[in-house]
């Protein structure tokens, strides 16, 4: 028998790129933030991470095998990314069963019920975070105080996040001013390294920025969404800060606290739930930035990144329809008959 040749349409070569590589690239980018969270929150952080990852993988396997009955997809790395990000979005002292519930919501409700990878409308991790926040508000907002692993294990006490302190102080009766609250708030250096209360993955700005730079270098994300989102936050909060610095926090504070960087770098840039073209991505990022500050200043919750991203996720199909790439040979606005 002679050689059986293959026939297929062109192109006959393929870049070495694959979905799996992209997913594992994201995992590598999350390593610094993982290390920092373990450093500040100790073995608890490790427990949450492991539990979340295992639960996400398990649910993905279970649903794919028995409900969708398709090819097994747990190797593609997407459930792994979801698991780590879910862990990043919860306090490190969250009870284990709540994490499992979160994983079920993320994988089962937000991802697989739409048909699996690539078909979900909302960011699965944020759906789970918001679900947990609304269902278990106390546990989800009792943040352990960071205590570096080098100092040995101390009894984990809980406290509020910088944004929580701010919201509570400004809303108190009589309202306090920012300068009155300042002693309670962490310094910029602390928020930069991660020595503050908060969800375990979102505390350290430097670790997140490192991961972001890695993903930019590897072309996993593009600059549009993070830059437009952070810029909008800076400008918008800057305006209010300029009007009344006693009432409104400064832009840097907004940028470095809460889930802002985690959201801008890892959550809003999720390929599946963000727009396709660079124009659309700029609009998306700007929208997230605006909504975040709106919620932070006037909303009932101290933090608004998750809600802002989920809200913008909902309009992504519209953005995709409105922002087409620039077509070759068609001048914008000119219809060619």
């Amino acid at each position: 028998m002679m050689n059986m040749f293959t026939v297929s349409g062109s192109p006959h070569i393929h870049a070495s790129e694959s979905s799996k590589k992209i997913m594992y690239g994201v995992v590598i980018a999350m390593v610094p933030a993982m290390l920092v969270s373990v450093y500040f929150f100790g073995l608890d952080a490790l427990r949450v991470l492991l539990l979340s990852v295992v639960a996400c993988l398990f649910f993905e396997w279970l649903i794919q095998k028995y409900l969708i009955k398709g090819q097994l997809t747990i190797n593609d790395g997407s459930a792994l990314v979801t698991g780590i990000l879910l862990a990043f979005n919860v306090p490190s002292n969250l009870p284990g069963w709540m994490i499992i519930v979160g994983a079920l919501v993320a994988i089962g409700m937000a991802k697989m019920s739409f048909g699996g990878l690539g078909k979900n409308v909302f960011n699965p991790v944020l759906v789970a975070r918001v679900f947990l926040l609304i269902s278990f508000p106390v546990q989800m907002t009792s943040w352990p105080k960071p205590s570096p692993i080098t100092k040995g294990f101390v009894d984990a006490s809980t406290g509020a996040t910088p944004l929580g302190i701010l919201k509570e102080g400004l809303g108190a009766d009589p309202p306090k001013t920012i300068s009155e609250l300042a002693p309670k708030l962490p310094g910029y250096m602390q928020t930069f390294t991660g020595d503050v209360g908060g969800s375990m993955g979102e505390v350290s700005a430097i670790a997140l920025i490192l991961g972001g730079l890695y993903m930019l270098y590897k072309k996993i994300i593009t600059w549009e969404i993070p830059v437009s989102m952070l810029l909008t936050v800076a400008v918008f909060s800057g305006i209010f800060w300029g009007i009344n610095p006693e009432q409104y926090a400064d832009p840097l504070f907004h940028l470095l606290t809460g889930g802002m960087l985690l959201g801008a770098i890892f959550m809003a840039t999720d390929m599946v739930t963000s727009p396709m073209t660079s124009g659309g991505q700029l609009v998306f990022g700007t929208g997230v930035g605006l909504l975040t500050i709106l919620i932070r200043i006037w909303g009932a919750y101290p933090e608004g990144v998750s809600f802002a991203i989920l809200l913008m996720n909902a309009v992504v199909p519209l953005i995709n329809r409105g922002f087409k790439p620039r077509r070759f040979g068609i001048k914008p606005g000119v219809e060619i008959a």
Binding site: M4, F5, T6, V7, S8, G9
Partner: protein
């Protein structure tokens, strides 16, 4: 307090009144008269919206029949292939017209280039689409007329009437076929044809569309029509024509005498749902295209064959053994 209640009732009441008046005028101004018979006809139709009649849906067909009945007093040229004679009779009754009986048709796959009969010479990789593969190359087996086996016909069928047989790589039509013609349209190689269903589902056809000369056709496919004209010579009813080395049986002239089947040297002519011949020792060319139960219930004689190959054409290997 009372005042508020009265004002509210008065305001809402007058608002409602104004809206009602506007609605009334709009409704009467823009009223479109529709023949109530259209609804009746539509009700009688199968509601498959398959487009087999040539109209974009059952509603459009109902409109067409109704207007044709009004204008021309006939339903000529209008036929719902899915509903068949029963439905057309009902439509005729509604519209008060006589309807001619039409012969029921069925889709017939005219290729037997199965995996065994037409061994693959190259391997195809790419989109599961016959239309694309047809534009790309000749076909895995080398026959540029034969079935590509990627199932565009199966995708086109709204009635679950055509399926791929994984053993042969060819589509198989079952009795659910309504002759809507969607698969005929979908096949890029014009392999599927609507043919007369035949008495007791019996039909004879050339299961090949290869227009090559005998030798090259036979080189790629062991059961190709080689255009030898034997069938043409044996046919007393002038039902067979040969064009570009390919025989075609006109089903309106064919009397199902089966003479051509006997003389065909490549077994390219098929007879389906006939009783097995007595004279010849083993000749299991007779097959059931219908489902097993139906075939066996009606024709106990073909039971063996039908049971062997439930709803599929005979596997070519079997044929060759015989």
């Amino acid at each position: 307090m009372n005042n508020i209640v009265i004002i509210a009732i008065a305001a809402l009441g007058s608002l409602g009144l104004v809206a009602a008046v506007i609605l009334y005028f709009v409704a009467s101004k823009f009223k479109v008269y529709e023949d109530p018979k259209i609804d009746e006809v539509e009700e009688a139709l199968p509601a498959a919206n398959c487009g087999g009649c040539g109209f974009p849906g059952c509603r459009a067909f109902a409109e067409a029949t109704t207007s044709s009945a009004k204008k021309n007093k006939s339903l000529e040229g209008l036929n719902c292939p899915v509903g068949g004679n029963d439905v057309m009779q009902t439509v005729g009754n509604i519209l008060g017209l006589e309807v001619e009986m039409t012969e029921p048709l069925i889709a017939v796959v005219r290729c037997n280039g199965s995996l065994a009969n037409t061994p693959a010479k190259v391997k195809y990789e790419g989109a599961t689409s016959c239309a694309f593969a047809h534009a790309l190359y000749g076909g895995e087996g080398g026959c540029q007329y034969g079935c590509l086996g990627l199932g565009d016909c199966v995708d086109a069928c709204d009635f679950d009437a055509i399926h791929m047989n994984p053993d042969t790589g060819l589509p198989v039509v079952n009795n659910k076929c309504t002759a809507c013609g969607a698969c005929v349209e979908a096949c890029p190689r014009d392999i599927i044809e609507l043919r007369k269903k035949g008495p007791k589902d019996r039909r004879i056809f050339v299961s090949c569309v290869n227009k090559e000369k005998g030798a090259p056709a036979k080189k790629n496919c062991s059961v190709a029509c080689i255009g030898c004209t034997k069938c043409d010579k044996v046919c007393k009813f002038d039902a067979i024509t040969i064009d570009s080395f390919l025989a075609y049986i006109d089903f309106s002239k064919c009397t199902l005498c089966r003479k051509c089947v006997e003389v065909c040297p490549t077994e390219a002519i098929w007879e389906v749902n006939f009783k097995p011949r007595k004279a010849k020792p083993v000749q299991p060319k007779t097959t059931a295209e219908t489902s097993a139960e139906k075939a066996s219930a009606r024709k106990p004689a073909t039971k063996k064959v039908s049971a062997e190959k439930a709803d599929a054409r005979p596997a070519p290997e079997k044929k060759n053994e015989a």
